[in-house]
Symmetry: C2
Subunit: 322 residues, 2 copies
Amino acid sequence: MKGTVGELGEFGLIRELTSRLTSTPAVRLGPGDDAAVVAAPDRRVVASTDILLEGRHFRRDWSTAYDVGRKAAAQNLADIAAMGAVPTSLLLGLVVPAELPVTWATELMDGIRDECQVAGAAVVGGDVVRGEVITLAITALGDLRNLEPVTRSGARPGDVVAYTGWLGWSAAGHAVLSRGFRSPRAFVEAHRRPEPPYHAGPAAAGLGATAMCDISDGLVADLGHIAEASKVRIDLRSGAIDIPSQMNDIGQAVGVDPLQWVLTGGEDHAILATFPPDVKLPARWKVIGEVVGASAQPQVTVDGAPWHSNGGWDHFGSGGGR
Amino acid sequence: MKGTVGELGEFGLIRELTSRLTSTPAVRLGPGDDAAVVAAPDRRVVASTDILLEGRHFRRDWSTAYDVGRKAAAQNLADIAAMGAVPTSLLLGLVVPAELPVTWATELMDGIRDECQVAGAAVVGGDVVRGEVITLAITALGDLRNLEPVTRSGARPGDVVAYTGWLGWSAAGHAVLSRGFRSPRAFVEAHRRPEPPYHAGPAAAGLGATAMCDISDGLVADLGHIAEASKVRIDLRSGAIDIPSQMNDIGQAVGVDPLQWVLTGGEDHAILATFPPDVKLPARWKVIGEVVGASAQPQVTVDGAPWHSNGGWDHFGSGGGR
């Protein structure tokens, strides 16, 4: 397949992209009509939308199109899992410059498709338009399987705070890449292609999680969202968080305390939840703090004190490199 | 409310936008969490995504932010109706430049909210990021109410072709605006703010429509999609299509045959459907042609002959002004 998307044209590109897709039994009507039809056996559907822009959320010189697709899909599917739902489907709105190679678009689609398969979902529709900046608008849908959605607002004093997945790996990989290095590969890979623990979201709902979200803005920031929505104070024990020795090595090499990555690095899409204190959590969950009290001024502390670093990203802030 | 979205920041803008929203009983969990939860009583959900870019799909000097919002929502909600479904909800991904006035964004949101209300739906979530080009990524969801979705592929020889809604009004309004005029207002308004007949989609499904779509690319082009998906030939009778006298006047003034607007103008989001020949259609439906035979080479003819004008828009083509 050669040429640019401008040469291929809108309908040709849509044909090329949809021809690569796979389906699942939940897909009642896939791409090609005015709209798709997806099973929603629970009689409710969980839905989330994210936008990613080239230059802000990904760079073509840092990530392959395939990895951009994997990451973009992962980010959105993780939001579904973080409600306690099972992802079923995904829609892709895509802005592409006319001079973009068709292969970049098809490899992006392959990445989105493969990440959907990891999560048990399928791409069911979308839209393609020409524009200057590559833009991905992804909407993911999911099914609650008769469990109640786990929101951010249910954390109660006494609950434990636990996570599963990866913390700070993407941020460490970003630090490596931004200094022009390509290794250690494990962290660079984690930045290029996060691995959200999709299964953990519905599992946490089944375990009685009282509040939940995925970590996209950073541990302290996302826990802050739970504290705010639940009107509670939460204390993290930094010593409870495992920092891999290789992450310490990178920290020394680039002059950054790796705790910074673990506490403020987003994009790994770990699943973060609060549970009643008597919960028996499977081994892959790590308890890292607790809800210390109700509060009119919700707050997250680390080892009992406010965390003074930048607690996350504001996409409009000047510091926002994403 | 003063200032730019850059001054207000991401979270401030999201607060401002979500504070303007209204809800419906179908909204089980609205904006503010990882994902929204919407009722899907049919156990299936209908979903469609569209992307709109400033300069390509709308112009700030031609349309108010409010009208851009109305139109963007209408375009997507019409896709849901065109499957025979009732729109329930909408998600908005929004790219905004930092220097955009906050009021532009809030008026856009007001327009989206109000169009959702017309269709019986509500905005349930979204994403906001900073970027150079104002971009709207809209996903609409809907419920089939135990009817089968009406796709493009069910048209059969002998079926009649009918539409309800407006044809060519937006194109005529575009012609007026592009020549620097602001009247006749009815057509300019139709270009700025289409009025899709949302109720007609589910009603057509109930009347036994065999194929259906909304007219977003133009009558001939969208009927071509039905012909292709259904593997049939379709003939339109141009004399059956009412051309308002004011549209004839505009055509004379700008030197365009108004039949061109009626046959190729998109964006009015009329509902177009095929029905069994013995159907009794309510008066608001207008029969304008029939499915004349099965065909390995699907084709749409006008008064028995191929239509030689540009049959619609290709977003990558040089002629694409949308």
